[in-house]
């Protein structure tokens, strides 16, 4: 059954990007791998809903994204039920992923609202167009654009300390370090 082999190959080829997307969303490599596994299982079980000739990668990203959101809401409820706090439960991203050099960025990403985070990653890292990202996130193109803009602005605020250029050209960014 050649169509099935094609499906398997296409899904296999998408795995590296799905993992990168997943870990950017959740900040935890183990959880990212679980998200990808669940995505593949669901995609396999619902092969019939894939329209041949359309973008297989976008289809898989949509499944992963929806699964992440369902899980995110469930987890947040559980944690909030437990002690009313969520942020404290996040351990450092370096410890979770082993990617020390991007620890600051990963942590900053986790401080963005999920809507903004996914939009920024899809457009700024995965290489999807605004139109494709809007399709994956099931919203208007204009909404994606504004989410990406807000995400960029917020990330810049969070990371300015790390990215500061020569001090004399940017005295304002030093203020936060002194606090």
């Amino acid at each position: 059954m050649p169509a099935q082999d094609d499906m398997r190959e296409a899904m296999l080829a998408a795995v590296p990007n799905l993992r990168a997307f997943a870990v950017s969303l959740c900040g935890d490599m183990d959880r990212a791998n679980d998200l990808v596994q669940e995505t593949l299982l669901r995609a396999w079980a619902h092969q019939d809903s894939f329209e041949p000739g359309t973008n297989m990668s976008a289809w898989l990203f949509t499944i992963l994204r929806n699964h992440f959101r369902t899980e995110y809401r469930k987890r947040r409820r559980e944690v909030e039920d437990a002690d009313g706090g969520y942020a404290e439960r996040l351990t450092s991203p370096e410890a979770q992923t082993g990617h020390v050099e991007f620890g600051e960025l990963r942590e900053a990403l986790l401080h963005l609202p999920p809507d903004q985070r996914e939009a920024l990653i899809l457009v700024g890292a995965s290489g999807f167009s605004y139109e494709e990202a809007a399709h994956i996130c099931e919203c208007a193109v204009g909404t994606i654009k504004s989410r990406v803009n807000r995400a960029r602005k917020k990330l810049a605020e969070l990371l300015t300390i790390e990215l500061e250029p020569e001090p004399e050209s940017a005295p304002q960014v030093l203020i936060r370090r002194a606090v």
């Binding site: 059954m1 398997r8 296999l12 590296p16 299982l41 995965s126």
Partner: protein
Amino acid sequence: MPQTERLEESPKRLSRDIQRKIGQQLRAMYTDVVNEGVPDRFADLLRRLDDKNK
């Protein structure tokens, strides 16, 4: 008036520089994971699913 001009442009340029760096870092972080390729567990999983259907 070159000095006034520089003062006015500086925050804009700064923000552009920061945005460019963030964009680069974001892509580098992402590519880092992409470059890890396909872990065995996923190749195994798809093989098992494929075999089951055949």
